[in-house]
């Protein structure tokens, strides 16, 4: 996509918007306890903001920001965080995914558990969306090169 170089309005607007989209994703992630939002939404918004950046500035620039290998590691880390919280509850004497034992006070334990689990959900969803987009984009690039 080298022709995209010309669209200066798109480039400037994207540059302005991307930080806000990513910030909004984080807000949705951590404010999901109190308002609408949560890991799934935050992950999707984060992925969408990143995809916007990649669409306008080209895949190479986006891959420089987030190398696909690292994104894939992050993708697994999110799921591992979720399962890890579950097992940690078991180590502390509760059942699998039992958050009550994470803290002295069950309510605080629940709060902590939910926050961590939502964080795991968010990272996995965001990383998966970005990975899927990179895969499609990589195909497109290869198809464009071969003819």
């Amino acid at each position: 996509m080298p022709m995209i170089q010309r669209h200066s309005i798109l480039r400037v607007t994207t540059k302005l918007l991307t930080p806000f989209i990513l910030m909004f994703a984080l807000y949705v992630q951590f404010h999901g306890d109190f308002g609408p939002g949560g890991g799934f939404q935050a992950g999707v918004i984060f992925g969408a903001g990143f995809i916007l950046y990649a669409l306008i500035y080209g895949i190479e620039a986006a891959e420089k920001v987030a190398p696909p290998g690292i994104i894939r590691v992050v993708m697994t880390l999110g799921l591992l965080l979720y399962i890890g919280v579950g097992y940690f509850g078991m180590f502390l004497g509760g059942a699998f995914l039992d958050y009550n034992v994470l803290r002295q006070d069950p309510v605080q334990g629940q709060h902590l558990g939910i926050t961590l689990v939502e964080l795991g959900v968010g990272t996995t969803v965001a990383a998966t969306m970005i990975t899927i987009f990179f895969s499609f984009a990589g195909r497109m690039r290869r198809a464009g090169r071969s003819g």
Binding site: F34, F40, G43, T128, A143
Partner: protein
């Protein structure tokens, strides 16, 4: 039984059948995926409309304004559909990826042409 109260189900069924028709009647694989998405969304609407309670509000408890009589819509369908949407996009992406590979292997995404090529071999 009152007919206006069932209207939401009928909208859902209309959308569902539209998606179903696209899936079975059109040969283009991309269009089939779009049809599946329509079908999927109709199921989402079915669940959410069942969770709605008359005079209810979104299931977020607000401190202070929490009256005893506050009515909340059923949160359970929301939870189920929330995850279903994201799973839906992931599986859609998988389907689209398969279509891309089919295009590379057969040079077409029309069902008839693919069958014809299979027959010819």
């Amino acid at each position: 039984m009152d007919i206006p109260g069932l209207f939401n189900y009928w909208i859902v069924i209309f959308l569902m059948m539209t998606g179903f028709y696209v899936v079975i009647a059109r040969g283009n694989l991309v269009k089939k995926i779009v049809g599946l998405n329509i079908f999927q969304t109709s199921v989402f609407i079915l669940y959410i409309s069942m969770g709605k309670v008359e005079d209810g509000t979104a299931p977020i408890v607000i401190e202070g304004a929490k009256g005893v009589g506050a009515v909340y819509s059923n949160p359970l369908p929301h939870v189920l559909i929330l995850t279903a949407i994201v799973v839906g996009i992931a599986t859609t992406a998988l389907g689209l990826a398969l279509i891309v590979r089919i295009k590379e292997a057969y040079g077409t995404v029309e069902e008839d042409d693919i069958f014809a090529q299979d027959e010819a071999e």
